[in-house]
Amino acid sequence: MMVGGFVSAGTPTNLIHALKRRGTRELTAIANNIGFGDQLDVLCEDGQIAHMITSFAIRASTSKWSRFEEQYHRGEVTLELVPQGTLVERIRAGGSGLGGVLTRTGLDTVVEEGKRRIEVQGVDYLLETPLRADVALIQAHRADRLGNLVYRASGRNFNPLMATAADLVIAEVSEIVETGELDPETVGTPAVYVDRIVRCDPIEVRLEGM
């Protein structure tokens, strides 16, 4: 599954908690961050996540351990770390019918291991492959009944990209309006991408940051 959000911004908190209640296990999760104070970490309480593809997982600058980190060190979960810009482009490729992307990010680092280096017009790039998911859990501010989504401020982040790259896209929104009530100029995710809309009151979270 893909889970939208960037720390507190645009995180489908209600959907994450619903998934915790449902108890689905052996999940591979693709998300920007999982760590101390992050909502996604609640799924580790009952060991629901088996594999994590993420950009931000274990923060060297804090001594506090998330549940994810405890399970990572016990060998109960596995981790693929991906640079943030590469993560989002792999998702975009997965959602838009592309066979991958070429980026200079990660050259001469551990990120390069096992990847093809391709020269284009005299510049070296890494070939990064597409990412797709069975389900994407995303968050937006407002939806219409057709499934068009409007985002607020930096609540966009990964959400519009993940909406394109999963077989089933479930959006948590604060408000659902009648079709025709959204200004087409402001739609951030067109209805074609969205399968389910859930209206939820936002869960108040005050995060300490990553």
Partner: protein
Amino acid sequence: MAGLTRELMALRVARELRDGMVVNLGIGIPTLVSNYLPPDHGVLLQAENGILGYGAIRDEGGFDPNLINAGGQRIVLRPGASFFHTSDSFGMIRGGHVDVAILGALEVSARGDLANWSIPERGGGSIGGGMDLAVGVRRLIVAMEHTTHDGRPRILERCSYPLTARACVDLLVTNLAVIEVTADGLLLREVAPGVTPEKVEAATAAPLVRSPDLREMAL
């Protein structure tokens, strides 16, 4: 270790910025820089989570989960701000549209290699936007403590921790000194008030060349 506080390091870094620059601030000391720009500044601050044109870190008022910097801290918007999704945000970064990145570091090498995302003893790590910024921005400034908590140098002949990117750092601002990474090696340009060049050299595990106009930092 004597020298500058985190706040004074942020103040010194802020002096490197000019009106019209697009600047990304990493987590840690760099995020403090937004609080040391003059109120009427013309710097455009970019946050990976999709904001161009934010202002200082906000300690008061309510918490809007969607108005944060990349470190999750509350921020204020300035006139002319804009929002965009993560693909646009990193297109901006990799595409050379961000002039300066200010990042924290665990280690920096004599030729400007950067290691800032993983401590092997701890395992895992957090790459975040660091690798993209290191290859994409025009100028990379590192703001960090000169040594570790137990006094070991962080500026080394070569990095021992996993790299963020090779030969990407242009300027180092530490609690002890301002050091420029040049083709001929590390150039000691400024020392913190009360800190001697000898003390900086003793805390650095790579050759330092003293600049002909080496001076004390003006704060």
